[in-house]
């Protein structure tokens, strides 16, 4: 074998090893972060931590009950707004592939997916906070719902695209009206794909802080009134992580671990449901 061929083969394997090395270096920071958060957070979490509200500066202890409850309410309301609109939007895009409105609508969904979350926060501030005269959980929910929409629409559209046309044609041939074909045949057939899109969208927004800064604002007490400011997990982490008090930092570490576990859990559920559906999300 000539030297040149040897050199080429050696270069090829050297670059292969280098690529593999680089690819696995990516994993290192994530593992670092996960381990660090788990180590810092695990000692802070106990029953007391989950059912109490934060103590004022200087007193140790306290919990994050207000943030947990607030997060659930804000995300729940956001999901109530985004799920029906998102699924119907996905159906619309799948049923009208050629029309001009569908083209613009698809483009706008793409744009919406790329809009920075802080911009959505500003817009929600002017749409809801200013007219209603104060920060409210509802405005936070609307901001998060706007962020959920593109993900739900996209995954619904992609799932429905995979269903065979014969399914729809068979239903029409039986004389079913359009809405029944969609709601009783098409959507139930694709329900697991649609659901995984919904779960993924919840996972994406569960950790969003920027849109809540000017909308839900935060609240040191337990609140269930969606027209008033409300605390949420990411907001609590942001506020306490940047504070100089050790007690508050401890709270933030515990809250980080809980947020992380919750987001990872949602992602794993999505993974398991999309495995059966070869949907690209």
């Amino acid at each position: 074998m000539s030297n040149l061929v040897k050199y080429r083969i050696a270069k090829s394997s050297a670059l292969k090893i280098f690529t593999i090395f680089l690819a696995f270096v990516c994993v290192v920071p994530l593992i670092f972060i996960l381990l660090y958060i788990i180590r810092a957070g695990i000692t802070k979490i106990n029953w007391h931590f989950l059912v109490n509200i934060p103590k004022p500066v200087g007193e140790s202890g306290g919990g994050i009950a207000n943030a947990l409850l607030g997060s659930m309410i804000i995300i729940g309301v956001a999901a109530l707004i985004a799920i029906p609109v998102g699924i119907l939007g996905g159906i619309y895009l799948n049923e009208n592939k050629k029309s001009r409105l569908a083209y613009w609508s698809r483009l706008c969904v793409d744009i919406l997916q790329g809009v920075p979350s802080i911009v959505i926060g500003i817009v929600a501030y002017f749409w809801l906070v200013k007219p209603l005269g104060g920060f409210s959980a509802l405005s936070g929910s609307v901001a998060l719902a706007i962020m959920m929409l593109p993900i739900i629409i996209r995954s619904t559209e992609e799932t429905l695209k995979l269903l065979p046309d014969s399914l729809k044609e068979a239903a029409f041939a039986l004389g079913m009206p359009f809405h029944r074909v969609i709601l009783k045949v098409i959507v139930p057939c694709g329900i697991s794909g649609i659901l995984s899109g919904v779960i993924l969208s919840v996972a994406r927004i569960a950790g969003e802080t920027a849109p809540l800064l000017f909308t839900a604002f935060g609240n040191p007490y337990i609140s269930t009134n969606i027209t008033k400011p409300m605390q949420s997990l990411p907001l609590l982490i942001y506020n306490y992580a940047t504070s100089p008090y050790n007690d508050w930092l401890d709270l933030a570490w515990g809250a980080s671990l809980i947020l992380l576990l919750w987001v990872l859990l949602l992602n794993i559920i999505t993974k398991l449901t999309t495995r059966r559906w070869k949907v690209q999300l």
């Binding site: 939007g89 809009v115 500003i122 920027a210 990411p234």
Partner: protein, 330 residues
């Protein structure tokens, strides 16, 4: 068109039973009429449903234009008062009513491009590994899922970790190389951002590389090319535009990323002197100062930043998506 026919049906339905009353066929006729009425009701529901779908489609368009309109209207006072000077003004001093966005534009560009340069080798390595070297198997499953998890971790957690772990490391690194050891700043934000944007270019690059037709690769192998030569002279040229789109989408992410950057960039409104100096990005300024802004012009200047951010990310994303859809349709 439906309405008169339907009305006709209804009047007839009230007449018919009277005429055929007591007849043996009465119940059958009534049933037929009921069925016809039901199908008219269904046609009506069908129309309502179709209209709802169109309205939802419209809502998407209205939403995006509403966002644009709101940003433009709310930033009008600042656009009118400051004009184009706003973009090139070098000082940002709300107390003196001087608003120049240049430090933030520079901060945004510096952090984003630095992050992009750091992350590209890694995300391309992941793309090549998953797309070409090991498309299947537990190892590639592991890498694929882990890289996707990077995108799943909330940005506020990256910021917190950066503040607690990365900033001290950067600080000691800075004191070693002889710059002012601040820790927080452009460099720390870029590092965090680089980690956060790896998955976007990587997952897009992977699917693009997997789409390279095997005849092309086999042709190159049959001419005696090594694995690397195939990657460099067949796969990269073929997927060039797709890889570029992935980089664009990563850039879009980096430009708009708020929380992680806000927490580690240091928040000073002066022009950063080096990449180790603290600074501010457009998103972090908004996050920090929006609730404090007390004067209308101050608020409006901040929203103009949001408008610039919105326009830039929209343009980047639309170009990226167009490239992808052209690539996948070919």
């Amino acid at each position: 068109m439906d309405a008169p026919v339907e009305k006709d049906m209804m009047t007839r339905s009230s007449e018919i039973p009277m005429r055929v009353i007591n007849s043996a066929k009465a119940s059958e006729v009534v049933n037929t009429i009921k069925r016809i009425k039901r199908s008219y009701r269904q046609i009506r529901t069908e129309n309502v449903f179709k209209k709802t779908l169109v309205i939802i489609g419209l809502v998407m368009v209205i939403l995006v234009f509403g966002i644009l309109l709101t940003l433009v209207v709310e930033s009008l006072p600042s656009i009118k008062a400051l004009g184009l000077k706003y973009l090139w003004g070098k000082t940002w001093d709300p107390v003196q009513d001087v608003y120049g966005a240049f430090p933030f534009l520079l901060g945004t560009l510096l952090t984003s491009f630095l992050a992009l340069i750091i992350s590209i080798p890694f995300s391309f390595a992941v793309a090549v590994f998953l797309g070409e070297y090991y498309p299947k198997g537990w190892l590639s499953d592991f890498l694929k899922n882990t890289v996707e998890l990077i995108a799943a971790v909330p940005s506020v957690i990256y910021g917190f970790w950066g503040l607690a772990v990365l900033v001290p490391i950067v600080r000691s690194f800075e004191s070693k190389i002889g710059v002012e050891p601040v820790g927080v700043g452009i460099f720390s934000s870029s590092l965090i951002l680089a980690v956060m944007i790896i998955p976007y270019a990587a997952s897009l690059g992977r699917s693009m590389i997997q789409m390279v037709p095997s005849q092309l690769k086999e042709g190159a192998y049959s001419l005696g090319a090594t694995r690397w030569e195939v990657i460099r002279s067949v796969i990269f040229p073929y997927t060039k535009s797709g890889l570029f789109a992935g980089v664009l989408l990563s850039l879009g992410r980096a430009l708009g990323e708020t929380m992680a950057v806000t927490m580690v960039i240091g928040n000073t409104s002066i022009i950063p002197k080096s990449i180790f100096a603290p600074g501010n990005t457009m998103a972090s300024v908004i996050a920090n100062q929006f609730t404090e802004a007390d004067k209308p012009i101050y608020v409006s200047a901040l929203i103009e930043l949001g408008l610039v951010l919105f326009l830039v990310t929209v343009i980047i994303n639309v170009i990226g998506k167009k490239i992808i859809s052209r690539f996948t349709n070919e």
